[in-house]
């Protein structure tokens, strides 16, 4: 009744190929953006902003990064956390080299270091496929995590091996460091995620994205059509690692605010991001957001939300209940829709078009 494209005619090819061809979708995205930019800072308190929204944004970006590689190009990677770590450590090194540089620029530039490392570890993908590639990317995870502990130069010879996030301001407003308010950090995260998602959407809908999907669907056929596998695969690794690296830098600088970073970028984080991509939906940008909310946001919301609405759960019990609930939900969603939450969202929209008179 409300969600119907009847009467919306397209007179140009550009309009027909738009990412959001239906007016209601465009209104929807505008409402979401308005909520994110205005609603959350107005309604949410510090606790909600720092423990739910900022992690959600950071993981969304990481999931988009992995989705480019796994969902769009069909290359399974277990090195996501390591690439995020490269972003965090290179951002840290750069803040010590150039203390006066704009920190947001540094966060973005640290993605480039991650991209370079990603390309290097992506080289085996030209020969190895599927599960074997996943094992090969494990090498990246183990080697880089080893380097984060063993190369003291990376953490400026700190006695505790920790990254210390210094105070950095942009136009006089503290962005990183302990004095940065949660709202500011949230805004910076949000702007970065929105811009990078828009960029990713353009890449995957364009020539490059189509070549990636051709490689994913059948690489020999893609090669016969004239797609250079070397370029396509390594570009996927580069772009994917860039996104992961930026997410990693955001994680340490805008969310954690420093600490024992080597321990953060462990294999469990790699798996978590992979689960986000699988549950959210392979090859879908909106799925990355769904997956991040489900894996990173939902446990926190359950753990602190259930006691807050009056269900008496304390400490470890809340944690156990959360584990069970999230586990059950993962199984439920995978049975209902193996293609992920993104596909579920699409089905819901389809049903909504014919509502209230389905045929």
């Amino acid at each position: 009744m409300f969600y119907r494209e009847a009467g919306q005619f397209k007179s140009t090819y550009t309009a027909d190929m738009a990412v959001f061809p239906i007016l209601q979708d465009r209104i929807g995205i505008a409402v979401i953006l308005l909520l994110a930019f205005v609603g959350v800072p107005l309604i949410g308190n510090d606790f909600f902003t720092t423990t739910v929204m900022i992690p959600f944004l950071v993981f969304s970006l990481a999931a988009i990064g992995l989705n480019i590689l796994t969902g769009y190009t069909g290359l399974v990677s277990l090195g996501t956390a390591a690439f995020m770590g490269v972003g965090a450590y290179s951002c840290y090194k750069m803040t010590t080299w150039w203390p006066d540089m704009n920190i947001i620029v540094l966060i973005l530039v640290s993605g480039l270091f991650s991209a370079a490392i990603g390309v290097f570890f992506g080289l085996p993908s030209l020969r190895i496929k599927g599960f074997y590639l996943a094992v090969a990317t494990l090498a990246a995870q183990f080697f880089l995590q080893w380097a984060f502990v063993r190369v003291p130069w990376l953490f400026n010879y700190n006695a505790s091996g920790a990254i210390e996030v210094p105070l950095r301001t942009v136009f006089g407003v503290p962005i990183t460091g302990a004095t940065a308010s949660p709202e500011t950090r949230y805004f910076v995260c949000l702007c970065l995620v929105v811009v990078l998602t828009w960029l990713a959407s353009n890449i995957v809908h364009g020539r490059i994205g189509r070549s990636w999907m051709a490689v994913r669907d059948m690489d020999i056929a893609a090669e016969l059509m004239g797609i250079k596998l070397l370029n396509a695969k390594l570009l996927a690794f580069a772009v994917s690692s860039f996104y992961c690296g930026v997410a990693g830098a955001m994680m340490i600088f805008l969310w954690y605010g420093g600490g024992e970073a080597a321990d953060v970028f462990n294999i469990r984080l790699s798996f978590n991001v992979l689960f986000m991509v699988i549950i959210g939906g392979l090859g879908s940008l909106i799925g990355s957001f769904f997956g991040a909310m489900f894996i990173a946001g939902l446990p926190t919301i359950l753990k602190f939300g259930l006691p807050a609405i009056g269900i008496p759960l304390a400490g470890a019990t809340a944690e156990h209940i959360t584990f069970m609930l999230v586990g059950a939900l993962i199984i439920f969603f995978l049975i209902v829709e193996p293609h992920g939450l993104a596909r579920l969202w699409q089905i819901a929209k389809q049903k909504l078009r014919t509502w209230p008179f389905p045929y």
Binding site: F47, E260, F304
Partner: protein, 443 residues
């Protein structure tokens, strides 16, 4: 399908709203104390008894004395699973509920909380863990690390070695091996041991254990057999400790020469070695056993009434008692804050002052029912650790016993290193504030 989606959506939406509403709910006639614990995750084995001890002591104070100074304590445990991400969530929750003190209970959580403490006005109590440099109160007015730091612990190890050998001059030419977790926590004692090795002429050998190889130390013990160190100091954690004890027995290393840091002194760590583990040692700053009035009070007021999560036979184990010790420090800090500020319901700022002037004397310990349970603790304005004494405990096959006397750390060696490290920290964190908090007169 659609109805299910809608229902799920509605449920998630409601929860989201609830998450946003985790609001400060502090009654005026109580003091809120947030406390991290890890009863899940890879280190749950050590975290559970510690958490039980902390919880039970506070419950006992509420039941026996009606709180502290007549004010009820609202003690809330937050589960971290020893995970930094979850610890940060717990910190945010503690902050939003106006906690008067924060016990992070992991090195990662401590490091993440230190930069925020002075802004949020929450004193951090990292009891003998965390950042050794934070013992410098002039640089870290909001962080406390009583009763001693890892660096003090390493120096006590050297003193213990010297005492057994018959004097500091006998250290020359000896070999001390350090088995350590290859992570920030494990590497903590290295600078102090290196400095002491240079000064006293003994040789330091390092045996790092990667976190992934905690239970697989075979190759490491081959090198220990080759090097034949005279003593071994174990800065280990979790599954690494029982493995080290077992490997020492398997490799015929004299078990009496293996000494663990206080976190390697769990009952289960030693028990894993079987009867041959008799003689294994660890540093300690609290006594094990239930024969103290304080533990008997806990049993009477909490455990027997079914208010404890711990089974009765576990009450009084080493790590349980360490949890009690931690809560005792929290309670004494609050009590002292009430005296210093003259208020009943104290705030984080008051508790910071209370911690800074904390002086738990022998007489006070007796009042607390802790005579022989712990040694006096004194914290000062510039010295946030106190560099208090510790002793060497020995496993007798079934329980931990006190072997040596209370020993003072080599404060003259450790203190300059701490001050240098604190200065370094402040320099690297541009914008690190100069201490603005005035020192109390009495300290």
């Amino acid at each position: 399908m659609k109805t299910t989606t809608l229902m799920k959506g509605a449920a998630i939406g409601a929860l989201l709203a609830a998450g946003a509403l985790v609001a400060p709910a502090q009654a005026q006639d109580s003091i809120y104390v947030a406390n991290n614990a890890y009863r899940t995750g890879p280190f749950a084995g050590s975290g559970t008894p510690i958490g039980d001890g902390m919880r039970d002591y506070m419950a006992m104070l509420n039941a026996r004395d009606g709180g502290i100074g007549g004010v009820k304590i609202v003690f809330e445990e937050c589960e971290t699973g020893y995970d930094t991400k979850k610890s940060i969530e717990c910190y945010e929750q503690a902050k939003s509920k106006n906690t008067v003190i924060y016990s992070p209970w992991s090195t990662g959580a401590t490091l993440a909380a230190i930069p925020r403490a002075h802004i949020d006005k929450i004193p951090i109590l990292s009891m003998a863990y965390g950042l050794s440099a934070s013992a410098d109160g002039n640089a870290f007015p909001w962080v406390f690390i009583p009763p001693l730091t890892y660096w003090d612990g390493a120096s006590i190890m050297v003193r213990h070695m010297a005492a057994e050998l018959g004097g500091m001059d006998k250290l020359k030419g000896k070999k001390l091996g350090l088995i350590h977790l290859d992570a920030p926590y494990g590497k903590e004692p290295i600078p102090v041991l290196e400095a002491l090795a240079k000064k006293y002429g003994f040789e330091l050998k390092l045996y790092p254990v990667a976190a992934a190889d905690m239970q697989n130390q075979g190759s490491l013990w081959l090198s220990i057999r080759r090097d034949r160190p005279d003593y071994l100091y174990n800065q280990g954690w979790g599954a690494m400790n029982p493995t080290a004890v077992k490997e020492a027995i398997k490799n015929n290393f004299p078990i009496a020469k293996l000494v663990g840091v206080w976190w390697a002194g769990g009952d289960d760590d030693a028990r894993a070695g079987g009867p041959e583990a008799k003689g294994y040692k660890s540093l300690n700053f609290n006594a094990a056993g239930a024969n103290f009035p304080v533990i008997q009070d806990i049993i009477k007021h909490v455990v027997d009434k079914g208010g404890s999560l711990a089974p009765k036979e576990k009450v009084g184990e080493n790590l349980y008692n360490r949890g009690v010790y931690n809560s005792m420090l929290v309670a004494e800090a609050i009590r002292n804050a009430q005296i210093v500020s003259g208020k009943k319901v104290v705030t984080g700022e008051d508790v910071r002052r209370g911690l800074e002037t904390l002086n738990i004397t022998e007489a006070r310990l007796k009042e607390l029912g802790m005579e022989g349970f712990a040694n006096p603790v004194k914290i000062a304005c510039g010295d946030h650790s106190g560099h208090n004494k510790a002793y060497v405990a020995e496993w007798d096959g079934t329980k931990w016993t006190k072997k040596g006397d209370w020993m003072e750390p080599l404060k003259d060696e450790v203190r300059p290193l701490i001050e240098a490290a604190a200065k370094d920290y402040a320099e690297k964190n541009t914008g690190w504030p100069k201490r603005a908090e005035a020192c109390e007169k009495s300290s």
